[in-house]
């Protein structure tokens, strides 16, 4: 097992690469859902504003 993690002495390079790959995808994924939430919240608050003004 430790041999697997050691990657023939290239552990740092291999695992950093793979780690960064997943980190980037994760950031993309999270920023997507955060953006969606905030857009929906904005539209809702706008609708409320319009209703109140009416």
């Amino acid at each position: 097992m430790s041999e697997f993690f050691n990657m023939g002495g290239y552990a740092f390079y291999v695992w950093t690469s793979i780690g960064l790959f997943f980190l980037a995808m994760l950031i993309d994924f999270i920023s997507l859902s955060m953006k969606e939430k905030s857009v929906k919240r904005n539209i809702l608050s706008f609708l409320r504003r319009k209703k109140n003004n009416k």
């Binding site: 023939g8 390079y13 690469s17 993309d28 997507l32 809702l44 706008f46």
Partner: protein, 269 residues
């Protein structure tokens, strides 16, 4: 005066011919509400397939595939480096095409797809650069080399950043911002091609022979298979990320329209 009437007539005739089912589907996709609805069906599946393929590809590539006889285990970086590098170019191609459509025909969906592609494309470019760098250190003993392919990849990252910066600079008016960004994307496509060849031309006259980067080595099926799997996994994730961003863009730009308000209030209640 008569000219304009004739134009209208022409348009009417065109409408009558649009009976082809494929064309109808295309036009449906072109309208925001149906795009939103149709893409909603795909989203979950795209993400699930992407995750499944990634797990397969990673297991296959990191555990099952044999170590390279020259590079040892460091070659396994290939399974993130190459798919990311491929995606960085593939996505830029899509953005160029959609950008052209957005400028010429002012099609909203093309804008949405173009803008939604930029962040994920930039991420893939970034990954290709960093993983390439991480691969270069053990292989050539240096993090960075000013070789044709790497230089043009770096400039590709600048173009992505430029497109996103343009969009966010004009965020007050998103449609205008989108068309501005589209213009950069289109001009950039020509440029990537020119840069690629100019750098190649330049380095070939000055440096005898650069390190043979991606020389055609014989690669066994065991090594190739995970690569292909990862290539598909990244494509599916791109599909997911792009569609989801495009949907958010539509909600944002059409927020005054009935269909958006219906969707929002319906989800809440």
């Amino acid at each position: 005066m008569t000219k304009s009437y004739r134009r209208n007539d022409g348009k009417l005739n065109m409408h009558k011919q649009r009976t082809n089912a494929l064309l109808r589907f295309y036009h449906k996709l072109g309208s925001p509400p149906s795009f939103y609805r149709i893409s909603g069906y795909f989203l979950k599946w795209l993400l699930l397939i992407a995750i499944g393929l990634t797990i397969w590809g990673m297991y296959d590539g990191l555990v099952l595939a044999p170590a390279d006889y020259q590079q040892g285990d460091s070659f396994r970086i290939i399974y993130v480096h190459v798919p990311a590098a491929w995606m960085s170019m593939f996505i830029y191609g899509i953005m160029g095409v959609c950008g052209a459509i957005a400028i010429i025909w002012r099609m909203k969906m093309a804008e949405a797809v173009m803008l939604a592609s930029a962040p994920i494309g930039a991420w893939f470019t970034f990954i290709a650069l960093v993983t390439g760098s991480l691969w270069g250190k053990p292989m050539w003993g240096t993090w960075w080399e000013w070789d044709a392919r790497m230089t043009s990849e770096l400039i590709l990252l600048f173009l992505y950043i430029g497109i996103m910066a343009t969009y966010s600079a004009f965020s007050e008016d998103s449609r205008k911002a989108a068309r501005m960004a589209a213009l950069i994307a289109v001009v950039g496509v020509f440029n990537v091609v020119i840069i690629h060849y100019s750098v190649q031309w330049w380095s070939s006259i000055h440096q005898g022979s650069t390190v043979s980067l991606m020389g055609k080595q014989h690669i066994t099926w065991d090594m190739l298979r995970p690569l292909l799997v990862m290539a598909f996994a990244t494509k599916f994730y791109y599909g997911y990320s792009m569609l989801k961003r495009a949907r958010i863009y539509l909600l944002e730009t059409e927020s005054h329209k009935r269909w958006v308000q219906d969707i929002i209030t319906e989800k809440k209640s």
